[in-house]
């Protein structure tokens, strides 16, 4: 009798891992579904907030031909650093601001041929009576960082116009509901 009791007490304690595995699976599922992996062409930048923006309708976008152009500050890589930008200031060095289309970066001097290519891929079939020429039906979404110089964004719009891209849209972030109307 005494021997048997000793044997029961000597069994190693069993840790039930099933509950932990369940929770881990749920966490994994949450992070996998919440991860924003699909839109790699959107660069890391902070958009200006505007409460009057139209929500980005994905259903509408499926039939349209779209080009997204990001206007962002040069990233600190390859020995490049900008102290003003890193400290949250407003950098006004013109060569520090770049345009990016599908991950490829351009300056104001070399983006025009790319815009021409983008426009040429989706030209209208008939001459526009108001413009008196063929225009592109491609829509251009400009995502400019909130600190980007207006001159650079305006230059980009001007270049789009000269490349026959006239359907321009500018992106802004929708503020959270508690900030609406401020």
């Amino acid at each position: 009798m005494r021997k048997r009791k000793k044997a029961e007490c000597g069994e190693p304690p069993m840790c039930n891992l099933i509950a932990m595995v369940d929770i881990m699976f749920l966490l994994l599922l949450f992070f996998m579904l919440g991860a924003d992996m699909g839109r790699r062409e959107l660069a890391e930048l902070v958009l200006p907030k505007a409460d009057q923006v139209k929500p980005d309708d994905k259903k509408e976008n499926t039939t349209d031909v779209y080009t997204t152009i990001n206007v962002h500050h040069k990233y600190p890589e390859g020995g490049f650093r900008c102290a003003v930008n890193e400290e949250g200031g407003v950098c006004r060095e013109s060569d520090h601001w770049l345009y990016a289309i599908r991950g490829r970066e351009y300056t104001a001097a070399d983006i025009k041929p790319r815009l021409d290519e983008e426009a040429a891929e989706a030209m209208e079939t008939e001459i526009d009576p108001a413009a008196g020429q063929l225009l592109s039906r491609r829509k251009v979404l400009i995502r400019a960082d909130l600190a980007a110089p207006f001159g650079d964004v305006n230059k980009l719009i001007e270049l789009c116009g000269s490349a026959k891209l006239y359907k321009i849209e500018v992106a802004a972030a929708q503020p959270p509901p508690e900030e609406m109307g401020k």
């Binding site: 891992l17 932990m20 595995v21 881990m24 699976f25 966490l27 994994l28 992070f31 996998m32 919440g34 991860a35 924003d36 958009l47 200006p48 505007a50 409460d51 009057q52 923006v53 139209k54 929500p55 980005d56 206007v71 200031g89 407003v90 006004r92 526009d128 108001a130 413009a131 008196g132 225009l135 979404l141 400019a144 960082d145 909130l146 600190a147 980007a148 110089p149 207006f150 001159g151 650079d152 964004v153 305006n154 719009i157 001007e158 789009c160 116009g161 006239y166 359907k167 321009i168 849209e169 500018v170 992106a171 802004a172 972030a173 929708q174």
Partner: protein, 153 residues
């Protein structure tokens, strides 16, 4: 037999330790790369088809448009906004001024008059978008961008 333990119910023991390790690694990866998706929207700013770039006229008829001049004060690192000769400090004041000026234009039989944002190249895009947003709040869709406002006197 009747008093059989767990080993008899589950004769095949599965070692879950590697499974937990892998799930931990996956969890750490997704937690590190996770960031909440920002809700984005857009303003349609379609370019006029037949007009092109018209440049900035020196003599602007104040009864044909609402013009907001924006200057970048490099020393103070802030934007100065002006309507006419009046400096506008707050967004509420700017909204009231735009509303009143636009109403005057409508009363003067000029409902298609644009709001022209005449900003220096160095003005941050955020400030320009704030003015665009205020115009949209006032249901004004015709907004024009000009570039090259002279520095303030």
């Amino acid at each position: 037999m009747a008093g059989g333990g767990m080993d008899e119910d589950n004769p095949v023991a599965i070692n879950v330790t590697p499974l937990i390790d892998v799930i931990f690694c996956l969890c750490v990866f997704f937690m590190c790369s996770f960031r909440f998706k920002q809700l984005e929207g857009k303003f349609d700013t379609w370019l006029p088809k037949g007009k092109g770039n018209q440049g900035v006229s020196a003599a602007t008829d104040i009864l044909k448009e609402v013009r907001i001049a924006m200057f970048w004060d490099k020393d103070a690192q802030k934007t100065i906004r002006r309507m006419g000769t009046r400096e506008v400090r707050s967004n509420e004041e700017l909204q009231t001024l735009i509303r009143d000026s636009y109403r005057d234009l409508v009363l003067a039989n000029n409902p298609d008059a644009p709001v022209t944002i005449d900003a220096q190249a160095a003005v941050p895009w955020n400030e320009v978008m704030t003015v665009v947003n205020i115009c949209k709040r006032e249901k004004i869709d015709k907004i024009e961008f000009a570039l090259g406002a002279p520095p303030p006197q």
